[in-house]
Symmetry: D2
Subunit: 350 residues, 4 copies
């Protein structure tokens, strides 16, 4: 089981790409074989990301020249719409695929097409894809050939709501998730709204009329509910915000209590065996920096003034537990490695 | 009516103090006579705040030496617990007082003492104080001798909820306000948690079990409801967060719809005559920087997926409409000046 | 003389554009008539810059439709290479032009073409243009028809070195200027290197082999030296750095002392009559925030350990004294308005 | 040689303390035995630094109770003046000490007392202490009992100047170091000037009349020069600046060329065998984030316009190569561990 696998990355010029590189370069069971970028073919990876100087000898290659089909596992860190085009050939060639984009996350093709504004190129692989939130469906992940790695908001929100949804102890039809993301969540594209001079010293909500992560969250929570025999209808008001920090995500969730219980214990026991979820003590306020650069979700459970509304706080690093870290966690599960392998970095604070 | 009044400031070494100075120095009807600070007595104001070099010739003085009783109006920009000790003597001497601290905001003395952890020194003046949210109670402000200037969260939240509370068209018992503040809201005290290296590149909730601004908001909203004949019980879950920016506050509010109506129009007509509240067009997302350094509240009204939950976004500059700007607005009303006098600064963007 | 002039802006979608708008909207002698942007024609200015909602009713227009030739003064806030194409026609039509780009700053056409990488379209107007650093050449500015507004680095560096260059009291051949700029200096273009996630929590030098502002600074200092009868050869090592703040610029300058004198007095007397230059007391360390959003340069003079090297600190807001504020100052001089008109904003601190 | 050593930390509540903890918890040859703090005795370390939850079971202890004398190595991460009081007893008990404060850095006791404003408590140990800049004096470090870990500015500046000083090829009497530090360099003390609202969106020089790191740098460079037979007098103008980022330091150094040579090659060959110094290619501009959270110094060598002035850029993470990382590097050398042990973290970017 302690073999070494060959890994490739498609589209490694974004933030999830460079974070994957940081993790894979240090992973003891992975040989990083190839990384592709049409636009940067020929450029040494360390020229684009000087943080990797001396640690990553690869150059970006064109997809054709990279020999990805010889990899055991290929990560897609591409914009939406690319993996659905290129992953099937690699899968047919025998590689396993971890897709960090949204292409295979939503089972309902029509719903996906509505939110992502394009026709899906590979509905048949959507049906075979496994959604990779290990804390919700670890067993399915083990045998996944095509793994759909969750979005950052869906990770933070689902981990914060899973124990409530599994038990049906709150009003599931009127859940509220008020989420705040660091700017790296918007990617490394040159756009005005994420310029330093626009996003710094500023705070705003966005996507209030509708955000692509809403159907993904609802699908995940509904599956979880049904798997636990909970039949309530689910509804979620989801409001994302942009906050002036590089990494980090905080979801503040509100749920009206239905059945009384000890909610702190509910969360603690639910996540007792999870290495990457930390339920903090009562009255705690998790900070995003307490998980910076680490594959962790920290959660706190509050019931203000002992009223009828629960407040759940959930923080992650959007590039780690919200993207690349979770992808490695999924890879570890898929290949039977110890789940924490290569993911023991301590958070960087301050 | 276009006379000039003499103004004094007690406790001008904090952020609301220096913001008051910025505004008063430029106000055409104000002569700034004195500013006190026990700790800094003798220091030229411009030595502490070099932004004022050449524009403010005053020195900090001890309260005894400052001659505040000869001022027409005295602003308290002090920590909680100071104004209730010192304001009564000035009021008795004939000055009018604008208190930017919390000492006179809560009518229920027991409630105030519970949240602020001290015995109130001047309950009789609490009964005479006027709460200064001009958009809610402008008429009372005109004749106020002691004005209790609202807190920053209470300003952003109340302005976002006033039209709903006045009409009772939502479930008032289960209101939710998820609020995010820039770090200057914590003041200019030397404390670890607001150090740059702690608060930068970080996001967190705080005070979830209970925050002092909760009773102030509930009192304000309840008064408004009752004044409009709305008898519903009011309840609010209020969660403040610290966001890494200097100035700015965004409150995201959630309310379950009771009676249907055109909510956009409701807000537009409610604030049509208010110079300092801007209801933005449908689907807008106000940014905190769009009000930076200006006395403004911008509001947007959303109803995601046409569901049963309203989302109200409200942004202010916590030091302006949330503190010093509103204090000047109240002063203008109290002295019969044009309400916008000295408050026409355009927001500083970027 | 207290007339009102009509002003137009070409290219108002960048940061110098919106800063000009902020200043012109509040200027008592200016009627803002037109603002052009090919890309945004038809868009209300306040839609792009919500900070201007309710304060600027203009829409962006195409250059053809805007009627700029009917303006008294036209500001170019365009990328380099535009003003040299469009300004001559406006000048011929009788408008006066203030160009905030670099097109008319360098008298030596070959030198300009080398640094800016294009052929100059209007050498004849370069010869007629007046360089607009009021503290160096106020008299020429009064009658300028085409004013070349200085760059931000050249403003901070020249103001810090003028007294030394005019007196020739230091080794002018080996001047060093180590300058640090906020990110807004790079403009509002969508580029990767100025994204929040790239520029935040980061510091770097750039352009060390050569930066376009070097020849502009050398030209300005050389003219000043010669005008004061100083014949030393001038040489400058100029290293710009990018620092993670929106606005602000700090130039730290090093000069080897030649002739002894009281350098503090030299600076104080040189700038005694300048409204926008503040020489701070000995041992002071000016902060960029002490001039944030204001048209000011603050300077401190140091001689560490009483050695043979002077250290001059000079801070400005790059969008104000480094761009739009200085443009308004120049306009005031050109039209005989009081030089401080519309430029009395107090710095915004914090 | 691959034994495990017991380590203790005195004063672990600051930023160098928590960074030491992050590194020691993950070091394969270290057992972390004790950490002291008078003020926090009894508090679990993970309560103060939630980033360590689940990874560090220690509690802060009083110095008396901690049993530090049983440690193999004790790190002092204390304010200046503490180690000189407490280290001698531990040294006498047989422990080796790595002092991250300034107590043992300066050999000249009178000079130290002048800059640090107190009487030195242990001059005899100053004489025995070894200055721990491995790239300059690795051999001495191997047998050090008391190691004086360099300051952050001295590390960045000395590494940038060593090759020039060792060869005497520049004017050593007029060196200039213009250095910029992130705010964590000021420590985790509650002080007004490092509050987020003071230090954010701001840039300033400080300590221009004289900074404590100046004599440390001069001592280090002079020793290096003399050890290489270079007899020039050394002089340095050193100007530190505060820049709004948490971690990171950039020193920009200026030196007048004396003897011509290929300076790029000089630097490359000088550092060819150093694991923690990276000489970048010609025309490179190292960014502080390229070393964030890693024990690295990246250097670039420039000669603008092929003139007579060299510009050297040197970046480090002030808490890593500038403090805790270098301390671990020194510990590795002292105990004969592979020098890179526990220091292979990749920089965190973005």
């Amino acid at each position: 089981m302690k073999q070494t696998i060959k890994a490739g990355i498609v589209g490694g010029t974004g933030y999830t790409g460079v974070e994957l590189l940081r993790l894979l370069v240090q992973h003891p069971h992975v040989e990083l074989s190839a990384i592709t970028s049409r636009g940067e073919a020929g450029t040494p990876v360390a020229d684009m990301f000087p943080s990797l100087r001396g640690r990553c000898p690869l150059r970006f290659e064109t997809p054709d020249a990279a020999g990805l089909e010889k990899c055991d596992v290929v990560f897609f860190a591409t914009p939406n719409g690319v993996a659905m085009q290129q992953a099937p050939a690699l899968l047919d060639a025998g590689a396993r695929v971890v897709d960090l984009s949204a292409d295979f996350r939503i089972s309902d093709i029509a719903e996906w097409e509505k939110w992502y504004g394009m026709k899906h190129a590979s509905p048949e692989w959507v049906a075979k894809a496994v959604y990779g939130l290990p804390e919700a469906n670890r067993e399915e992940i083990r045998s996944a050939r095509l793994l759909a790695n969750p979005g950052c908001y869906p990770t933070a929100v689902q981990l914060g709501l899973l124990p409530l949804v599994e038990t049906g102890c709150v009003d599931l039809e009127h859940l509220i998730a008020d989420a705040k993301s660091g700017v790296s969540g918007a990617g490394r594209k040159a756009e005005v709204h994420t310029l330093f001079s626009e996003a710094s010293d500023n705070f705003k909500a966005y996507g209030v009329p509708g955000h692509r992560h809403l159907p993904e969250i609802l699908q995940g929570l509904t599956r979880t509910a049904r798997a636990h025999g909970v039949q309530q209808r689910l509804g979620l008001t989801f409001v994302p915000h942009l906050t002036p920090m590089i990494r980090g995500m905080c979801a503040t969730m509100y749920a009206r209590i239905g059945d009384e219980r000890d909610f702190q214990s509910l969360f603690e026991s639910r996540y007792a065996d999870e290495a990457f979820v930390d339920v903090m003590p009562p009255k705690a306020h998790p900070e995003t920096r307490s998980v910076r650069a680490a594959n962790l979700c920290r959660i706190a459970v509050h019931r203000p003034q002992n009223g009828d509304t629960l407040v759940i706080l959930s923080v992650i690093d959007n590039l780690m537990k919200g993207a690349a870290g979770q992808a490695i966690q999924n890879m570890n599960i898929m290949y039977g490695f110890e789940e924490q392998t290569g993911l023991c970095q301590l958070p960087v604070l301050p």
